[in-house]
């Protein structure tokens, strides 16, 4: 059961990472990356690292997304 959860989460992570890399819409990529942070947070928690999970939830899924969105706001939304 433990293994199944990890494998599903890891598969999700790989799919999301590919989606971020392939997306031409940078705002969509930023949102998917936020979801990546959230899944990573669940994985940390499940692996028994609540400290890292909290950091990942706050920074990976939260603050980083906002900073990336702000950076996109100062440049251009679509990748050329």
């Amino acid at each position: 059961m433990n293994q199944v959860f990890d494998l599903v989460m890891l598969a999700l992570l790989i799919a999301m990472a590919l989606a971020v890399a392939r997306s031409k819409d940078l705002v969509a990529a930023a949102m998917i990356f936020s979801g990546y942070g959230l899944v990573m947070c669940l994985l940390w928690q499940h692996r028994g690292a609540p400290d890292v999970a909290m950091t990942e939830a706050a920074i990976g899924a939260g603050v980083t997304t906002i900073l990336v969105l702000l950076a996109i706001g100062r440049t251009c939304r679509r990748e050329k």
Binding site: P50, D51, A53, M54, T55, A58, I59, G62, V63, I66, L67, L69, L70, A71, I72, G73, R74, T75, C76
Partner: protein
């Protein structure tokens, strides 16, 4: 000329690092120090030696306090780099306008005002409870920073009325390195080692206070730096 200077600087930084990495034990090597006695020592003696009920905090602030000092310096350097790279008072490219004068929705503003005190209390809880439970300065600081980011959307209005005045903001952003410096020097005076903690019986309270001071410094500094990154990126 300039390019060769950059190349030389990068090489001067990279070569010692690569030599250091090459000297590390192979991942999973059973004879590596961490598998033979270091981890076992932390688990067996950590609670007694560090006085921290949470082993992660014990490692972070006591055994590897110097590493954590480096970490807060990296976060501080990140803000300094952003401030150096981004022009001051710039509002971004024409037509981009993430922050340029779009009024915030009253629903969002109300929710931010409603949740702010709870988020602040939770952030402080995570900082102070870092001793005994998962959490600590870094996590609580990010929660406080996210709160300040949200509040600056509602309350702060540009350069004229910032949420935190620029002068105090500079000091707050340096809070984590300053706290480490203060505790490091205090430890030097008390024990003869930088970031040393008094371990003899009867000094537990002092040790506890030093660690809580560090946690608060990391939390306040982290929060202020995240707010600074947000404001700088937004162009204020």
């Amino acid at each position: 000329m300039r390019k060769s200077l950059v190349a030389i600087t990068i090489a001067a930084a990279a070569v010692p690092m690569l030599i250091g990495v090459a000297g590390l034990p192979r991942p999973g090597d059973p004879s590596a120090a961490v598998h033979t006695h270091v981890a076992a020592r932390y688990i067996a003696e950590g609670a007694h030696e560090t006085g921290a009920d949470n082993l992660v905090t014990g490692v972070l602030l006591n055994y590897r306090g110097f590493d954590t000092f480096g970490e807060v310096m990296i976060i501080f350097a990140a803000l300094a780099a952003v401030m150096a790279v981004l022009p001051r008072g710039a509002t971004g490219l024409p037509g981009a306008g993430a922050a340029s004068g779009i009024p915030i929705s009253p629903i969002v503003a109300f929710i931010i005002r409603l949740t702010a005190p709870f988020i602040a209390a939770f952030g402080a809880f995570v900082i102070f409870k870092g001793h005994v439970s998962p959490g600590g300065g870094f996590q609580g600081g990010v929660i406080l920073g996210a709160l300040l980011m949200m509040l600056s959307l509602v309350l702060g209005r540009g350069v004229d009325r910032p949420l935190i005045p620029a002068r105090s903001a500079r000091w707050l952003q340096a809070a984590a390195p300053l706290a480490f410096f203060a505790v490091g020097v205090l430890g030097l005076g008390l024990t003869g080692a930088v970031l040393g903690y008094p371990a003899e019986p009867g000094r537990e309270l002092l040790r506890e206070l030093m660690m809580i001071f560090l946690e608060i410094g990391i939390g306040v500094g982290g929060g202020a730096i995240i707010l600074g990154l947000f404001l700088e990126t937004r162009g204020e």
